[in-house]
Symmetry: C2
Amino acid sequence: MSIDHRSHTPLYMQLADLLRDRIESDELPSGAPLPSEARLSQEYGLGRVAVRKAISVLRSEGLVTSSRGQPTRVRPRPKQRLVEILPGSTISARTPNSNERRQMDTAEGVPILEVRSPDGTVQTFPADEVALSCL
Amino acid sequence: MSIDHRSHTPLYMQLADLLRDRIESDELPSGAPLPSEARLSQEYGLGRVAVRKAISVLRSEGLVTSSRGQPTRVRPRPKQRLVEILPGSTISARTPNSNERRQMDTAEGVPILEVRSPDGTVQTFPADEVALSCL
DNA sequence: GATAATTTGTACGTATGTATA
DNA sequence: TTATACATACGTACAAATTAT
């Protein structure tokens, strides 16, 4: 379970895979801090660029959140609430751009669910908080 | 419409905003090549790191695709086909991780739509190709 | 077919800024 | 205040894939 510097798989991807495993196996549970970038650098013998790129992969997958001054943490996943939608509705999903993300205050890696009701109205929901139930 | 080096907004974000505007206004239409990283560097007086980060933002939003040896291009958006789902189905959306993306052969920035039918079966669709219609 | 030029990808190092504890 | 941690941004070098010559 370590980094192979001679592998064809990029170093950052190997590290991302390692960390993802530790998150999905709950060895790094919800809310837990990841080791700092400096620590990961030393631990695995990588430069900081590779470490940051690995973490950015996890961030874009919605698995972790980073903010200045604090350690990167495993992103707590809110319980999804069920939203009921009417027959005849159309549902689509997309990735919000940075401005939309700011407005909706959602984390990186969280898609947007869009529901177009039969009457033409459109509703949007962050996909980590909402699941849709077709009546 | 240029880069302000004294702004509080990061340079890469300013460039991402500029390029996003040019894509969404169709000045850079579907399939069109973006200027090369070297060209953007010169054009806007930025280092390559800032340029690459800007493009990575657009890639994660599903707006462009990059591959080695070829210019980064505006990602052609396939026409969505409508998939009908049964009443009682539950719909959710999520960002696939890198391995899932490889398996489903979807681009970065394309969420996955997941449908759990009343009989318990689960179907997954790339959200750029499929929209769901609730019967 | 072989070479060269172009373009993106990976990875290193360094420096400075900013938010948090 | 100090130390820690992440964010931004510069530079360099080489690898790998594609395209043009």
